[in-house]
């Protein structure tokens, strides 16, 4: 409004004032970004340092040489490779199972018409509130009796079950957004339930499935409680339990390899996040009910 009447020097002064007023804001944002990013930079630098550099050099020092020795020793002596393999072997089947079972259940509860589907959906929802601690002891007993301890099956079964409530709930929400006419038209055209499920419902909620899968992946991969409870030997340890015991292995802390181990774990998730960050954020925010 004032721009019409004000002369050019005035306008320039205005811009300067505005820039000055935004300065505290920009400092705050820079501070915020440093707080988030600096620990990670420090971690990456640490993964290239040698033991003596940790003990004698100040924390801001740059590694003397850029060698991947720490990474090699984390994998070879630290057994990081074995731990990561275990995590993959536990997470991939769990993820597949939870998506297949959860999607099928959500379809039966949301698209199909029958009495009692409301209460059963609520029953699944109730599972979101339960603290996992309530389940550990009975599950431990069950797995012990079934002679499943000493395998990765306890992890796969527990992850699948713990992931089901959120998966069913979110997939039901995605299915609700599809116009019912599509399913009704398909039945009139003579399609059976399984054709509708496989050729219409699944393709239509493909993005939703992907988002839910991503969220569950992070829950499973980052889990400590379940894997700590059900992996009783070094051979079965997942990457999180393995990292936790990284310090104890040599008596004294071997900083370099430990930083390398942390870095591998962090950079792995970072790469997934860099490519899919919008979907990760949206997914985790909608999965917040998990608490």
């Amino acid at each position: 409004m004032t721009a019409l009447t004000s002369s050019t020097p005035d306008r320039r002064k205005n811009r300067a004032v505005r820039a000055l007023r935004r300065l505290p804001l920009q400092i705050a944002i820079a501070f915020l970004l440093v707080i988030v990013v600096y620990p990670l930079v420090w971690m990456l630098l640490g993964s290239f340092k040698q033991q003596s550099e940790f003990l004698t050099e100040p924390f801001w020092s740059i590694p003397r040489e850029w060698s991947f020795d720490n990474y090699v020793s984390a994998f070879v002596e630290g057994g990081l490779g074995r731990y990561m393999l275990n995590s993959v072997l536990a997470v991939v089947p769990s993820l597949t199972l939870v998506l297949v079972l959860g999607m099928a259940a959500a379809f039966a509860l949301e698209v199909m018409v029958w009495k009692g589907r409301g209460p059963i959906l609520l029953l699944f929802l109730a599972g979101i509130m339960i603290p996992a601690q309530m389940l550990l002891l009975p599950l431990f007993t069950i797995y012990f009796r079934l002679h499943l301890t000493g395998t990765l099956w306890p992890l796969i079964i527990t992850y699948t079950a713990l992931g089901l409530p959120l998966t069913v709930f979110l997939m039901a929400t995605y299915l609700r957004a599809i116009p019912r006419e599509i399913f009704e038209a398909a039945t009139i055209d003579g399609a059976g339930v399984f054709r509708i499920f496989g050729l219409i419902a699944v393709p239509l909620v493909r993005n939703g499935l992907f988002t839910v899968g991503l969220v569950q992946f992070f829950f499973f991969w980052n889990d400590l409680l379940i894997s700590l409870t059900f992996t009783n030997s070094d051979r079965l340890r997942t990457v999180q339990v393995g990292l936790l015991n990284f310090t104890g292995q040599y008596g004294a802390i071997d900083y370099g390899p430990m930083f390398a181990g942390i870095s591998v774990n962090v950079v792995g998730t970072l790469l997934i996040y860099l490519f899919l960050n919008q979907q990760v954020m949206r997914g985790l925010a909608s999965g917040a009910v998990k608490g």
Partner: protein, 294 residues
């Protein structure tokens, strides 16, 4: 049509497996675990019926009550910080950065998806006093303040845990509350601006009241999440020094798998579940009262 989508056999095939797994691994164990609370023993020793002895023991067990107190204190402090910082960030995204917020949001969210164990090990080094001096203590030394053995004392350990949880989760609460702020219609804010409200007053009188529902759900998520804190504590302090930073979750884990007390461990787990439920109900109730008042 009804016949196709109401096919009982198809429902059974689609829903059956999920319901079976869910029932066997989640529903049955809840009752099983509740049953364990009346027994003493474990898989090797066998079980002996003891009635309500476990509950009596719980309320006389000093360590257990300390764990309850720690859980509650941590949960309250952390919830206040998570929601306050998250809200401040959300306001910053909406009003400070406007359309340019995408990059900042993405970066600040990043710690949320990092493995907790990795972050905790990193923070342990960050606050280390010996044998190496971590960045925090080095920084203090530059300011000529003597370094602190952060994880060697109960009080400072508590705050390191609080800080790490905040670092890890503030981006999450920021995005959650940011979505809530975006839902506020632009014309309401615009008309408040025309009426002369700006800055702090706009936030306090218009934005906060309108985002109360999403704030409330953020508080409930936060309370439930922080009462269940486990990974962070195990990897950062392992409950120490002594049992000074042991939440109920870790105490349950210790009694069950460290000492093999399945009955007592189940009692602690049940108490944790009840605590989560009570706190959630309490918040729901108190928020409803406030709404009718205002």
């Amino acid at each position: 049509m009804q016949k196709v989508l109401g096919d009982k056999r198809a429902i059974l095939i689609l829903l059956g497996p999920a319901l079976l797994v869910y029932t066997a691994v989640m529903l049955v164990p809840i009752f099983w675990s509740a049953g364990y609370t009346l027994f003493d023993g474990n898989l090797v020793r066998g079980f002996e019926f003891v009635g309500i002895d476990n509950y009596v023991e719980f309320f006389q067990d000093k360590t257990a009550l300390e764990a309850v107190f720690f859980s509650l204190r941590f949960s309250v402090v952390e919830t206040v910080l998570q929601v306050a910082v998250g809200y401040a960030l959300a306001l910053l995204y909406v009003f400070g950065l406007r359309r340019a917020s995408s990059l900042v949001r993405t970066v600040v969210f990043f710690p949320v998806i990092l493995p907790t164990v990795a972050v905790a090990l990193l923070f342990r080094r960050f606050f280390e006093a010996a044998p190496t001096t971590g960045p925090v203590n080095s920084f203090l030394e530059i300011l000529h303040i003597p370094g602190i053995d952060w994880l060697g004392q109960a009080d400072s350990s508590f705050w390191v845990i609080v800080l790490m949880e905040l670092w890890r989760s503030m981006g999450f609460y920021a995005v959650l509350l940011y979505a809530g702020l975006l839902d506020i219609p632009d014309d309401i804010i615009e008309s408040a601006r025309l009426d002369g409200a700006s800055g702090w007053r706009l936030v306090r009188s218009i934005i906060v009241p309108l985002s109360l529902p999403v704030l409330l759900s953020a508080i409930i998520f936060s309370i439930n999440g922080t009462l269940k804190v486990f990974d962070t504590v195990v990897a950062l302090t392992n409950g120490g020094p002594g049992t000074a930073t042991t939440p109920l979750t870790l105490y349950m884990f210790r009694t069950s798998f460290g000492y093999g007390e399945f009955g007592y461990g189940s009692t602690v787990a049940l108490m944790l579940a009840i605590l989560c439920l009570l706190v959630t109900i309490f918040i729901f109730r108190s928020s409803r009262r406030d709404v009718t008042k205002g």
